[in-house]
């Protein structure tokens, strides 16, 4: 209880929130890096996955990419970037590493969602005279939507969680509060930082669940 109490005291001390290494600045870095990485990953993964799903090819590719992603430690990838010339380019190493790890879940889920659309439904749509484009926008995309959002959710949570590791190689983000606490043997600060990161990850998950419900094409149809 003692440590948790001290961690709470650390969190509620205003001075710990301000300045270059304060919570506010680190939170900003964390959200910026995660946001950019997630947006980039969507731009890269979704068009490929949706197109491959639409033409019904490349399933093995999606699965293999996802499996490879599991075996590679983010820490190692970030460390490799940090001993290369990339280390002098600001947030770039973190963002590249995060994109590498967000693409597999996005790609796999979107692809699975597209290929799991019932064959008879797409055939019926074609029978009604829908073109490939219409079929994609009005049938396949709405039906694949739940899987795409599941992928987006796991990618987002993963990105926010992984951005923490950036601190271990000296990059910014909330993880810095934890590593700084470790280096100064300040356990309350370590626990406070960990609590912040855990809460942020759960918050992102919650926001995305809400967003998922709001944007669901099936719900929109009901209210319209």
């Amino acid at each position: 209880m003692g440590v948790l109490g001290e961690a709470w005291t650390w969190l509620t001390t205003g001075a710990n929130w301000s300045g270059e290494s304060g919570v506010a600045h680190r939170l900003g870095e964390h959200l910026y890096v995660s946001g950019v990485a997630l947006a980039l990953s969507c731009v890269i993964a979704l068009p490929i996955a949706l197109f491959l799903g639409h033409i019904g090819k490349g399933g093995a590719l999606a699965v293999n990419i996802s499996n490879v992603g599991r075996a590679v430690p983010v820490f190692a990838v970030l460390a490799l970037f940090m001993v290369s010339p990339l280390r002098n380019s600001g947030y770039v190493p973190t963002i590249i590493a995060l994109v590498l790890f967000a693409v597999p879940p996005l790609l796999t889920n979107a692809h699975v969602g597209m290929t799991e659309v019932d064959r008879s439904v797409t055939e019926a749509a074609r029978g009604m005279g829908m073109s490939g484009g219409q079929l994609f926008v009005r049938v396949e995309l709405p039906l694949a939507y739940p899987m795409i959002m599941t992928g987006l959710r796991s990618a987002a949570v993963q990105v926010v969680a992984t951005a923490t590791i950036a601190a271990m190689v000296g990059q910014g983000g909330l993880g810095r509060i934890i590593t700084a606490g470790f280096n100064t043997y300040n356990t309350p600060q370590v626990v406070a930082g960990a609590l912040l990161v855990a809460v942020l990850a759960l918050l992102v998950e919650t926001v995305l669940v809400a967003l998922d419900r709001m944007l669901s094409p099936l719900r929109r149809r009901r209210t319209a």
Partner: protein, 237 residues
């Protein structure tokens, strides 16, 4: 000339490094394997009763699945730090964190495997006078084995990768070498440890696949194995 100088010029690939530090590399690899193996073993031992509990009734299923999923969303650096007041700077800290992460994957896979056992098989066994324990051990478990092994494989591969984060408390196996090499930009060490880590994951996966084939000879005849991957994505490392 190149042999000695690659340490001085800080090359990515350095034979001299591999030769002179082979003991250090071996020690780190052994620690890595040890931490991963213990974590997955404890994970299976904890996940199995939890899966049985979740199967028993809906009342337990919700909390068990919910809790293990929430644990999975906690970032690894935060998880290890949150456990710090409980365990101090020890290997137990890293192992506990890894066990908690493996639970999500393992519980879901074991549950999916047990629920996929055909009802006819269970009823036939009951008709033959099998009690619940014998039914579980001799009928349900063998039939759930492919799903169980798929879960163990996924859990092992992500645990190998996650173990590196344990270097924050100095118990990260190959992660320690990466951590040590960072301040001096020692490229050969970072690359060697990273490659070893990925190799370890691949070898572990292949070994487990072999074990699975040995344990379930009947699946090779009828159909190919379908992996149950309910956890969705790899755990952030």
């Amino acid at each position: 000339m190149a042999g000695q100088n690659c340490l001085v010029t800080n090359d990515w690939i350095c034979g001299e490094y591999l030769r002179s530090r082979s003991q250090e590399l071996t020690d780190a690899t052994v620690q890595h394997i040890w931490i991963t193996a213990v974590s997955v073993a404890i994970g299976v031992a904890v996940a199995f009763p939890l899966a049985l509990l979740a199967r028993r009734s809906r009342r337990f299923a919700g909390p068990v699945l919910g809790l293990t999923t929430v644990l999975y969303t906690v970032p690894s650096l935060a998880m290890f730090s949150l456990l710090l007041p409980l365990f101090g700077l020890s290997a137990a800290l890293v192992v506990t964190g890894l066990v908690l992460y493996s639970l999500t994957i393992l519980v879901r896979n074991i549950l999916a495997g047990l629920e996929a056992v055909p009802l006819e098989a269970k009823e036939a066994a009951r008709g033959m006078g099998y009690g619940p324990a014998r039914l579980l051990w001799e009928v349900e478990l063998p039939l759930a084995l492919p799903a169980l092994m798929a879960g163990i494989r996924i859990a092992t591969v992500s645990t190998v990768a996650l173990t590196t984060i344990g270097s924050i408390v100095g118990r990260g196996g190959l992660g320690n070498l990466i951590d040590d090499a960072l301040p001096s930009f020692f490229k050969a060490q970072v690359l060697a440890a990273s490659v070893l880590c990925v190799l370890l994951a691949v070898v572990a996966d292949l070994l487990l696949l072999g074990v699975q084939r040995l344990l379930t000879p009947w699946t090779r005849i009828s159909r190919t194995r379908d992996a149950v991957d309910t956890a969705g994505a790899a755990k952030a490392v």
